[in-house]
């Protein structure tokens, strides 16, 4: 089975500091990591491969430095890595990103199964998986908490729904998005890291994908952030008098 796993580079921390004087935002840019949900997806893919054979390809769109993270996925068990990296990809929102990833899946000759993390820790949008499935015109199962079985033509998995959980069976190819604790990703071994150092990470530019220039990067992104501002923090605690305590707490409870 050919499995493609989409991996995104995210900052290691979502911590935002405010400059005490200017009140401008300060972010720590020093460390980037693979989105933890995607690391789980890679592990899930490797487990499927260990049972059924095939290859696991880690696919990412990002700046050239993302290559390092893709190597790390190889150390964790992926067979191949592909990095879509080109100036014209920059500024992509989820629509442009999913379009670009869909083009890449087709350029790589398609896949039997495409795994994505349910969402990325920096954006929290959870949109890439279902958008990708729409571009590829294949079924999609989001919020998957367990992969039950796979054969050449189907995958059976359990997903979260608003009312509980559901077991669904979908025809392959399909896109599956997984929760972070679907499985525990293994840590790479020194042997795995050694192997990843010599592995090839295929770099792909926009031209190679045959992508419509108006659908990629900043120009292909309909949404635009116009303002960012820090979340208001919890203020001082409110004191409630003892004689009004029960009524006040009752009110808080009713507001839920």
């Amino acid at each position: 089975m050919n499995i493609i796993v989409c991996v995104k580079q995210v900052p290691s921390s979502n911590e935002v500091r405010l400059d005490p004087v200017r009140k401008t935002i300060i972010r720590d840019s020093s460390k980037a990591v693979a989105n933890p949900f995607d690391v789980t997806a890679v592990e899930a893919a490797v487990q499927i491969r260990e049972k059924h054979g095939g290859t696991v390809t880690a696919l990412s769109m990002g700046i050239p430095a993302t290559e390092k993270l893709l190597r790390d996925e190889i150390a964790r068990g992926a067979d191949k890595a592909v990095l879509l990296t080109d100036r014209v990809f920059a500024g992509a929102d989820t629509l442009a990103t999913s379009y670009t990833l869909a083009k890449a899946v087709n350029t790589l000759g398609g896949a039997d199964l495409i795994l994505c993390g349910k969402m990325a820790t920096d954006g929290d949008t959870a949109q890439i998986g279902p958008e990708l499935s729409a571009w590829l015109d294949v079924p999609c199962v989001t919020d998957v908490i367990e992969i039950k079985e796979t054969d050449d033509r189907h995958i059976v998995c359990v997903r979260n729904t608003d009312a509980g959980t559901e077991t669904v069976k979908v025809e392959l190819p399909a896109v599956i998005t997984v929760v972070k604790n679907l499985t525990i990703p293994r840590l790479p071994s020194i042997a795995g890291i050694r192997k990843s150092l010599d592995a090839e990470v295929r770099l792909v530019k926009a031209a190679e994908l045959g992508a419509d220039p108006s659908r990629i990067g900043l120009d292909g992104s309909p949404t635009q952030v116009i303002r960012t501002f820090p979340q208001e923090k919890k203020g001082e605690a409110v004191k409630i008098e003892a004689d009004k305590a029960a009524a006040a707490v009752m009110e808080l409870w009713e507001e839920l």
Binding site: S12, S13, P20, K31, N181, P188, S189, I190, G192
Partner: protein, 525 residues
């Protein structure tokens, strides 16, 4: 002026014990909020002729914070950062003793400090700190709810002490009240002994004059008894004095820049002897910040906890064939250097009989957190096991050692541990700081009779470890529980030297009674 002093039966029973799980007794308790409160408490104790036991987070494992009658002086509410300085390119944080390590770490990492007590100069330093390279405080005891005051009192260390040394090295100043209310405010590099003769200036112009003990401290990781050496910096005496000389009210904590690359690697071995041989060979690798060990007993308890507890479900599986794990943390200038070290570690593991495939590597924070959770799950599992046993046998306490030996004695000491444990027939789990040949041998006796045998065995070990040139307490401090080991280590004459030193600081013998050594002849009479 004594408003804060309350009767000890008004506060919780937990203030009568600490993590050593031994219990004491007290008549009064004070939760001091500032220096004034501390002074009042000391005055009250002098008036009423009470013993004083200082408490912080009560996370100690040697019972130093367990009250010995009299007054409990709890400093956990003195938990503010009072200022900042920059000395020789290093940031110094001035902290009250009740600052909790976890909170300290969070403050440093997020750079969010409560600057309410800062003066102009501190604020200036803070602004610089805010945008500077990320810093950290290197002393890392496993229990992150420890307070910095407690950590200084027992000269705490942790896994990273392999590289960074114990707490002592990271304290630039100590402000301490003596029992008579005088204050010493010592900065590193300002007050030295002359040979063994010493005079420590007080803020009121007077001084404490004393002679240092004449023993030669072992050249191993050591938190046993007063730090003493000819011509020493006198601040080093106050650190590690186990609450017997004075009450610490402020510490200068030296921060280090956080290394660019912090990686972890666990090497799994099928035989303990391979793990030891790996340790022996890997010591030459310069970037290692910590070198930790887990034996088959520890791994077995972990497997059980993983099987029956959801809290540990996310731990990685350790294959049954694995007998020992050695964890090494790398602190490097950059990732390239870290990779070089990691690959050399792999080679050494294979040379020692391991396999590069049997390794776990963490190269980012979330993987490191995973390995950290694994390391902490070991003591936590054992504690849970003890708690279970104690429900039916409340007299049992956790029986663990804290001894260190020189590098060339690692194989010998391990052989001794294995031989003697087998003789007692008690279930065991060994883990700890193998880089310093400092292993915590923990026994899980299932009866008071077994506990008695273990106690005897520990006494024998104290003698053997001393003769190997080791220390009876490498990091937990001596407290009350290990006072008898200290006598084995140094002998009665040197204990007497320590007693007379204490008397110059605390002539009425009120502070930290029962810690380090008993009062001696008078007490028996």
């Amino acid at each position: 002026m004594y408003d804060l002093i309350q009767s000890a039966d008004k506060i919780g029973a937990e203030y009568l014990r600490d993590e050593s799980r031994s219990t004491g007794h007290a008549e009064y308790a004070v939760f001091a909020k500032n220096e004034e409160d501390v002074l009042n408490a000391l005055r009250f104790a002098n008036e009423k002729d009470l013993n004083v036991t200082v408490q912080g987070g009560r996370t100690g494992l040697a019972g130093a914070a367990v009250p010995y009658g009299g007054l409990i002086l709890n400093l956990s509410q003195m938990d503010r950062i009072t200022g900042m300085e920059l000395q020789d390119g290093k940031y110094i944080l001035y902290a009250q003793p009740g600052v909790v390590l976890l909170k300290l770490r969070k403050m440093i990492a997020s750079r969010k400090l409560d600057t309410g007590l800062f003066d102009e100069s501190s604020l200036g330093i803070y602004n610089r700190f805010f945008t500077d390279k990320e810093q950290f405080f290197p002393t890392d005891p496993t229990e992150t709810s420890a307070t910095v005051g407690g950590m200084a009192a027992c000269n705490a260390s942790g896994a990273r002490s392999y590289r960074y040394g114990a707490m002592r090295r990271h304290v630039s100043s100590v402000r301490m009240f003596l029992m008579d209310g005088r204050c010493v405010n010592v900065k590193r590099g300002e007050a030295f002994a002359n040979g063994l003769k010493a005079s420590l200036p007080c803020t009121d112009g007077s001084s404490v004059d004393f002679t240092l003990p004449s023993y030669k401290m072992p050249e191993v990781k050591n938190a046993s008894g007063y730090y003493a050496a000819p011509d020493m910096d006198l601040i080093d005496l106050l650190i590690g004095s186990d609450g017997t000389l004075g009450v610490i009210v402020e510490l200068g904590l030296i921060l280090d820049p956080l290394p660019e690359a912090v990686w972890g690697s666990a090497c799994l071995f099928e035989r303990e002897k391979d793990a030891l041989s790996f340790v022996d060979k890997v010591r030459g690798e310069k970037n290692i910040a910590s070198l930790e060990y887990f034996d088959k007993g520890a791994l077995e308890i972990l497997r059980q906890q993983k099987a029956n507890g959801s809290a540990f479900a996310s731990l990685p599986d350790v294959p049954k064939r694995i007998e020992s794990i050695v964890y090494a943390e790398l602190h490097c200038r950059d990732e390239e250097e870290a990779l070089g070290s990691l690959l050399r570690i792999g080679e050494i593991a294979e040379l020692a009989g391991g396999n590069e495939k049997d390794t776990w590597v963490a190269r980012n924070q979330s993987d490191l957190d995973g390995l950290m959770f694994f390391r902490h799950a070991v003591p936590e599992s054992v504690n849970m096991n003890i708690d279970k046993l104690r429900k039916t046998q409340p007299s049992l306490t956790k029986m663990g050692t804290d001894m260190s030996v020189p590098d060339d004695k690692l194989f010998d000491v391990m052989e001794m541990y294995r031989r003697d444990i087998e003789k007692t027939g008690v279930r065991s789990a060994i883990w700890g700081h193998i880089g310093n040949n400092h292993l915590h041998v923990n026994l899980l006796p299932s009866s008071t009779e077994e506990a008695g045998r273990v106690k005897e065995m520990f006494k024998e070990w104290a003698k053997s470890v001393t003769s190997m040139g080791g220390a009876v307490s490498a990091e937990h401090g001596v407290g009350k529980l290990k006072a008898s080991f200290l006598e084995i280590m140094y002998g009665p004459e040197h204990i007497e030297e320590m007693r007379s030193l204490k008397r110059t600081f605390d002539p009425e013998w009120k502070l930290g009674c029962g810690n380090l050594f008993s009062k001696g002849e008078e007490e028996k009479a």
